[in-house]
C-alpha cells in the first residue's frame, strides 16, 4: 500500500541520515572548558533562532495559506506528538538537574534534525533546499556542541543520536494537507526549543564556572 511504502522510506531515511559521528568533535570542546562551551552553545541557539526566522518565513510561504498566516492557530493533532515538545511544567523545568537539562536538549535537537533532514529531501524549490541544508548543518553543530558540553562535564550522552524516529505504527501523512500540518508543527516546535534552550543555557552558565573544568584538565595531566 502507498502508506506502507512511504512509512518504510521515512524510517530508512531517518536511520541513514541520523548516523552522526559525534566523537571527533568532543576533543575540541574539552580543551575549551565547559564554561566556554556553554557560552558557545548558547550563542549557537541564538544564531539558529535568527536563521530559523528566515527559513520558517520562506517555508511557510511555500506551504501557502493558511500556514503562512500570522494568526494561524490550529489544534494540535495527536500525530504531532511525535515531535519532541519544549513545553514543560514550570517547577519541573526549574528543578531539572544539569544532566537532565542537557540531555533533554540533546535528545530534542537530535530528533528535530532528523525530521528536518527528511524534509530537506522532499521540498520543491532550490532556494528552500539550500536554506534547509544550511540550517541542518548549523543544527548538527548545535547537537555536537551540546554533546561536547555533556562530555566535558562527565555526563553520558543519551542513548543513540536520534533514538527511534517515531513510534512504530504511526502512519506517514495520508494527505497533502496533513503533511503540511506536520511541517508546520515541526517548525513551531523547533522555534520554541531554541527559545527554551537560550533559557536552559542561561541557567547552566550560572551554575558551571569555568574554574571547575580547568581543575579536571589538570588532573588528567594536561
Amino acid at each position: 500500500s502507498p502508506t506502507g511504502d512511504s512509512w518504510g522510506i521515512f524510517t530508512f531515511l531517518c536511520a541513514a541520515l541520523c548516523n552522526l559521528p559525534a566523537l571527533p568533535a568532543l576533543n575540541c570542546s574539552e580543551e575549551l572548558g565547559a564554561g566556554q562551551s556553554i557560552q558557545q552553545t548558547y550563542d549557537l541557539t541564538r544564531y539558529l533562532e535568527h536563521q530559523l526566522r528566515t527559513l520558517a518565513g520562506t517555508y511557510l510561504n511555500y506551504l501557502g495559506p493558511p500556514f503562512n498566516e500570522p494568526d494561524f492557530n490550529p489544534p494540535r493533532l495527536a500525530r504531532a506528538e511525535r515531535v519532541p515538545s519544549a513545553t514543560v511544567d514550570l517547577d519541573l523545568w526549574r528543578g531539572l538537574t544539569d544532566n537532565a537539562r542537557l540531555a533533554a536538549n540533546y535528545r530534542a535537537y537530535s530528533r528535530l534534525l532528523c525530521y528536518l533532514r527528511v524534509l530537506d529531501g522532499q521540498v520543491g524549490t532550490a532556494e528552500l533546499r539550500h536554506r534547509l541544508a544550511h540550517f541542518c548543518a548549523s543544527l548538527q553543530g548545535l547537537v555536537l556542541s551540546i554533546g561536547g558540553v555533556m562530555s566535558s562535564l562527565g555526563y553520558p550522552l543519551p542513548a543513540g543520536p536520534a533514538g527511534p524516529p517515531a513510534p512504530p505504527g504511526t502512519p506517514a501523512a495520508p494527505n497533502d494537507f496533513l503533511k503540511k500540518m506536520d511541517d508546520f508543527w515541526l517548525l513551531k516546535e523547533l522555534q520554541t526549543w531554541l527559545w527554551r534552550s537560550a533559557k536552559d543555557f542561561n541557567r547552566l552558565k550560572k551554575k558551571v564556572p569555568p574554574a571547575v573544568v580547568t581543575l579536571r584538565l589538570e588532573a588528567r595531566g594536561f
Binding site: N73, P75, T87, D89, W93, R94, W195, K199, R203
Partner: protein, 335 residues
C-alpha cells in the same frame, strides 16, 4: 414605581405615564422642573433626538390630585464600541496580565467578560481589584507552542461588542522599565557620568531570566540621543559627555532572548563634574590663591611619594593623582 430606562443618543423616546389613559391630564417633570406641554402627546411625553443632557429623573403626576403616577430614571448613552485589549507579561515566567478599556465612553454602566483559551483548555483570568479592567493569569506550563486566545466582551443595556487577541507565550514578554535610575558626576572627570539602576521589581527571576539594558543619553541642548546596549550589569559609565552640560538619561530593559523592550525609565538629569571656576583677579591675588591651594592640596608627603617612586610614565601620574585625591579627601575630613 420607579425604574431605569436606557436609550441611545439620537433616539426618539416616548414615555407613558404608567397605566394612565392617553387622554388623561398629567404633568411631567424632569429633575423636578415642569416640562412644557409642547413635548406632550396626550399623556405621553415625547423626547425627540435625545442627547446626554436629557438624562435624569422623569416623573408623571396626575393633573388635579398631583399623585405621582410614574417615575423613571432616563439614562442616555451609546452601545459599546469595540474595546481595546492589551495583554503583557511583565513578570515572565510567572504569567501575564490583560487590561482593557473602551475607546469612547458609553455614559451608561458596562460589564466586561474575559475568556482565555489555551489550545483546548479554558483558563481563568483572575480580576484585579486595582486597577479595574485588569486580570492576571499564572502560567501552568512554560515554553508552549500553542497560542493563547483572549476574548473580551463588553455588554451594556444598549448592546454588546468584543475583541480577540491571539498570541504566543513569547510574543507578549515586556518587562517594566528599570527602577531607581541614578546618574552621578565622577569627581575630577569632566566628561564622565556614572549611571546605575535596578532590575524592575516586577521581574521575578533575573538569575534564570536575565535582562539586558538599553541606555540613552543626550545633553538637554541637543535633540540627538546617544545609545548604548548593555548585555549585563546594572551600571554604566558615560565617558563622552560634553563638559559642563546638563544631561538627560533613560534606561530600558528587555529579556535577554525574547519579547520586546520595556518603556523608557523615568528620566534623570546630571551634569558632569566641573572644576571650581576661578574668579578674575589681579596678578598678586592669583599668586596668593595658588600658594594657598598648594598648601591644602599638595602637602609635602604626596610629592615625596611620587619622587620616591622615580617611575617615568602615565602610571606614575595616576599614582600621584590617586595619592593626591586620597590626601585631599582626608584633609577635607579634618577641616
Amino acid at each position: 414605581d420607579s425604574h431605569v430606562q436606557y436609550e441611545r443618543v439620537g433616539a426618539d423616546v416616548t414615555m407613558k405615564c404608567g397605566s394612565m389613559d392617553w387622554d388623561a391630564a398629567v404633568t411631567w417633570t424632569a429633575n423636578g422642573t415642569d416640562i412644557d406641554e409642547s413635548h406632550l402627546n396626550g399623556s405621553y411625553l415625547i423626547l425627540k433626538n435625545v442627547d446626554l443632557s436629557q438624562s435624569g429623573q422623569y416623573s408623571c403626576y396626575e393633573g388635579s390630585s398631583w399623585h405621582l403616577k410614574y417615575q423613571t430614571y432616563l439614562r442616555v448613552g451609546t452601545p459599546p464600541k469595540e474595546p481595546v485589549l492589551m495583554c503583557r507579561s511583565n513578570n515572565y515566567p510567572k504569567g501575564f496580565y490583560c487590561s482593557w478599556h473602551l475607546p469612547t465612553p458609553t455614559y451608561i454602566p458596562n460589564s466586561f467578560n474575559i475568556s482565555v483559551i489555551h489550545g483546548t483548555k479554558d483558563m481563568v483570568c483572575e480580576k484585579d481589584a486595582i486597577p479595574k479592567n485588569r486580570c492576571h493569569i499564572r502560567y501552568l506550563q512554560l515554553f508552549s507552542t500553542v497560542k493563547y486566545k483572549v476574548t473580551l466582551t463588553v455588554t451594556n443595556a444598549l448592546g454588546k461588542n468584543f475583541t480577540t487577541l491571539t498570541f504566543d507565550e513569547f510574543a507578549i514578554v515586556k518587562p517594566d522599565p528599570p527602577e531607581s535610575v541614578v546618574a552621578k558626576p565622577v569627581p575630577n572627570n569632566p566628561r564622565r557620568l556614572e549611571v546605575s539602576w535596578q532590575n524592575p521589581s516586577s521581574w521575578p527571576d533575573p538569575e534564570s531570566f536575565p535582562l539586558k539594558f538599553f541606555l540613552r543619553y543626550r545633553p538637554l541642548i541637543l535633540d540627538q540621543w546617544q545609545h548604548v546596549e548593555l548585555s549585563d550589569g546594572t551600571s554604566h559609565t558615560i565617558t563622552d559627555a560634553y563638559a559642563g552640560k546638563e544631561y538627560i538619561i533613560q534606561v530600558a530593559a528587555k529579556d535577554n532572548d525574547i519579547g520586546t523592550w520595556s518603556d523608557w525609565s523615568v528620566a534623570v538629569h546630571a551634569t558632569p563634574w566641573t572644576e571650581e571656576p576661578k574668579h578674575l583677579t589681579t596678578e598678586a591675588q592669583i599668586t596668593e590663591t595658588t600658594s594657598a591651594s598648594t598648601s591644602s592640596f599638595m602637602a609635602p608627603p604626596t610629592t615625596k611619594i611620587c619622587d620616591k617612586g622615580a617611575v617615568v610614565g602615565s602610571g606614575a601620574v595616576a599614582v600621584c593623582w590617586t595619592a593626591g585625591l586620597v590626601v585631599a579627601a582626608y584633609s577635607v575630613l579634618f577641616i
